[in-house]
């Protein structure tokens, strides 16, 4: 640890981010361009530049708040922050890492329940059929979130325009795709 409190040392989570993504949070000098350009910052609990600062402190309590934040889930990876960062810090890549860690450690923010449910329903659909089955995705999402009535008007309009497949597209090598899931996202689960 440095004795100078103004020089941030790479510790804890910032170091993990560096090791897994090569993203250097210490390079951020708080210009705030990422937060100004972020289309979702007004819906976040901490805008991107504040997340960067929280990680720079190395304070375990603040790191915990980052992993439990809503920000990391409402981030759309639109890449605007990275495009505008004068230090070329790949914030979206860091966000991917933080999301994965947050899920693994069961720290995902409660407000992100629907967003995460959508991701899970999406991935389940691919795991079983190899391609996205949109009706299956919506049914699964509604079951997970109990948001039964949402988008009820959309499906008939889509069917009328030939935009929804009633029967899923099944690829031939479904076991191959299922095996990819078993070896990656499902490898630590029974």
């Amino acid at each position: 640890m440095s004795s100078n409190p103004h020089i941030s040392t790479i510790s804890g989570l910032a170091n993990e981010v560096l090791e897994h993504t090569e993203v250097k949070v210490t390079h951020c000098y708080q210009c705030g361009k990422c937060s100004a350009g972020c289309p979702l910052s007004e819906e976040m609990d901490y805008p991107p530049s504040v997340i960067m600062r929280m990680l720079q402190t190395g304070n375990p309590e603040l790191e915990e708040k980052v992993l439990r934040s809503f920000s990391i889930w409402v981030c759309l990876t639109c890449e605007m922050c990275f495009a505008r960062c004068p230090m070329s810090i790949d914030i979206p890549k860091m966000m991917d890492f933080l999301r994965e860690k947050s899920i693994k450690e069961k720290k995902a923010n409660k407000k992100a329940k629907e967003i995460i449910a959508f991701h899970k329903s999406f991935l389940d659909s691919i795991q079983y059929t190899g391609r996205l089955y949109e009706i299956g995705l919506l049914a699964d999402y509604k079951t997970r979130t109990l948001k039964i009535l949402d988008d009820m008007d959309l499906a008939p309009k889509m069917i009328k325009r030939g935009k929804l497949n009633i029967i899923p597209e099944l690829i031939k090598d479904r076991s191959g795709v299922a095996s990819i899931f078993r070896k990656t996202i499902k490898k630590n689960k029974n």
Binding site: P39, P92, D96, E134, L154, N165, V177, I180
Partner: protein, 280 residues
């Protein structure tokens, strides 16, 4: 040379008119195009939000299948799929250990030899050089070319067009006889994958895009991504309630506008499938 085609899931379902217009143009310009056999979903936002290894293994399988099929170049019309495939290729090219891991996960050989083209690159390479004398019905409208995020960012990896004021689609639309407008929301996010889980966010973000396009006199918005299209077109209810008024500017894929310009049939181009009636 045969051009490989990766439609991705949207183009087989909710955005099938995008595939229809791509294939109609390919036919009209004698492009030898062939779908990648037994392709899978690229994993989209869900995979890279939840698990890095999965988010690389799924696109790598697609690229491996293209290699196996003897394809050297593929077109990926969905900007999100294009992003996932290009990012995967980039990540694997710089890390041999990671490549070995992905090969062992997928059980398929991977060399990284397939060129990945987005829709604008494909049109610039195979359609616009042969456009002379073909524009029989110029698309004579003021258009707002909307690029969205993933077609142009991150530039470090995609190396395609400018990140915030791209020009490639504008130039394409000029060739189709349209008048592209200068506007501020070319690459602002539409709300993308939050469409279902946070529709109100999409209403706000897409609403601002629609508002600026209309205020600056656009008669149509031109897109190159099925996610952008479905948010701007199918989510018009949420958009209108955010804007507090009913705006009925149509949203067309670049391939549909170009298709109209070269005299292709509206139905063949799938214009009847849009939620917002295409009046242009």
């Amino acid at each position: 040379m045969t051009l490989g085609f990766y439609p991705g899931c949207s183009l087989k379902g909710s955005s099938r008119e995008y595939a229809e217009s791509v294939l109609a143009l390919a036919k009209a310009f004698n492009i030898d195009i062939e779908e990648i056999e037994d392709w899978n979903c690229c994993g989209a936002t869900a995979a890279h939000n939840m698990n890095k290894e999965l988010s690389l293994a799924l696109p790598a399988r697609i690229l491996s299948l293209a290699e196996k099929q003897g394809l050297h170049e593929i077109v990926v019309p969905c900007a999100a799929c294009y992003s996932r495939l290009t990012v995967t290729k980039h990540e694997l090219a710089k890390d041999q250990e990671l490549t070995k891991k992905v090969i062992s996960t997928n059980g398929l050989d991977y060399k990284g030899t397939v060129e990945v083209l987005n829709i604008i690159q494909m049109l610039d390479k195979y359609v616009t050089p042969n456009l002379e004398g073909r524009v029989v019905k110029p698309f004579d409208h003021k258009v707002a070319c909307y690029y969205g995020c993933l077609l142009v960012r991150p530039h470090e990896i995609l190396k395609f067009d400018r990140e915030e004021d791209p020009q490639s689609m504008d130039e394409l639309m000029l060739k189709a006889g349209a008048t592209p407008i200068d506007w501020a929301f070319k690459t602002e996010c539409c709300g993308a994958g939050l469409s279902v889980a946070r529709t109100s966010s999409v209403g706000r973000l897409s609403g601002k895009i629609i508002r600026d396009a209309v205020d600056r006199g656009a008669e149509a918005i031109i897109v190159a991504c099925p996610m952008c299209h479905s948010n701007l077109d199918m989510r018009r209810g949420a958009i209108n309630s955010f804007l507090g008024e009913k705006i009925d500017i149509p949203v067309l894929y670049a391939t549909q506008a170009l298709g109209l310009a070269v005299g292709l049939d509206r139905r063949v181009l799938g214009l009847h499938r849009h939620f917002v009636t295409v009046t242009v």
